[in-house]
Amino acid sequence: MRCEDGRERLSRLLDGELGAADQSGLFGHLEACGDCRAFLETLTRARGAIRRDREALRREADAVLPPWPPRPADSAAGSAPAPGHAAPSRRGLPAPALLALAAVLLVAGIAIGAGLAGRRDGARARQEAEAARPAPESPRVVYVCAMPEYQVVGEPVMDTGR
């Protein structure tokens, strides 16, 4: 067996994908070839290092990734944490519940708005009625009628604030 073939089989052996028939041929080659044995040792050693690296990365993942999944509204990883590993309850609300809540808020809003509008209308009506009422007689008129002999054209009119 050529070393090239031997190493190709070694690769499959490491993956648990080498059949029994191919294994016996490979082991025969390994007994005779120091280079391929060294190749296997190197790969086995590399696998050990990779496993350690993987565990370190898994720990790193736990440290840097938020425990809750992202949402479109989230600013990358910067939103408020959920309690534990569960999704926040706000996110857990099903769509129908959210719709119902929105409907209730809408109805309540309309009712409050209508109430305020009614109060405003009443106040305006009172104001208009007050405006339509005949104004009380001006003190000036009373003054003029009472004392016609003193009527002077161009006399300053008293400001009553009306």
Binding site: D53, A56, R58, A61, V64, L65, A77
Partner: protein, 192 residues
């Protein structure tokens, strides 16, 4: 573990807990894959978030997905390759080839695990298509079939890429480790 079909169905039906569970199951492996593909922990973190946002956007397709892991890794792989292409255009590949791993923990970078550092460096020097399958096989322990589905290729192509990746890795590591062992007075000969 593997298909997560029940979780996918629940997710497609709008079950938020299923989404959280899928995230909990796959975020770690996806991070490991992306960190070693990109050599950058921060980029890996962002990429994992992006992948799950894509999943959320495509909730309607979840019923047709058979294997959440394969689907998530396919999206992650495509995004990794896109990022690497973008990075190349910015001439940042040199950093990667030099073995700089901004996302590595201080413990990894220290002398505590020199072997792991050498392996990471050798891995970063592999061509993308070899690095990709080797990470999926060695770090994630996926089957040839799953890797083929993720890399959109055949199982025999996966087998062949793995062999070439290991061949390259072996050629790079063996002289370094042999020198190191000689310096320590240790020998690997005859241990098998």
């Amino acid at each position: 573990m593997g298909s997560d079909e029940g979780l996918l169905r629940a997710f497609a039906d709008g079950d938020e807990r299923a989404y959280a569970r899928l995230y909990d199951l796959h975020r770690g492996p996806l991070y490991v894959y992306a960190a070693r593909m990109l050599g950058d922990g921060e980029a890996a973190r962002d990429l994992v978030q992006d992948v799950f946002l894509v999943m959320l956007e495509r909730r309607g397709e979840a019923r047709e997905m058979r294997n959440a892991r394969a689907w998530l890794f396919t999206v992650a792989r495509n995004r990794c390759l896109t990022r690497l292409r973008q990075r190349r255009t910015r001439d940042r590949l040199d950093e990667l080839v030099a073995g700089e791993m901004p996302g590595a923990t201080p413990a990894e970078d220290g002398a505590g695990d020199e072997e792991a550092r050498l392996v990471r460096q050798a891995l970063a020097e592999l061509p993308e298509e070899q690095r990709d399958v080797l990470i999926l096989r060695e770090y994630e322990e996926l089957s040839y079939r799953e890797i083929a589905a993720i890399a959109q290729t055949t199982e025999s192509a996966v087998k062949s890429r793995l062999f070439r990746a290991r061949q390259t890795l072996g050629e790079r590591l063996r002289p370094v480790w042999t020198r190191g062992d000689d310096a320590c007075g240790a020998r690997t000969e005859g241990s098998g």
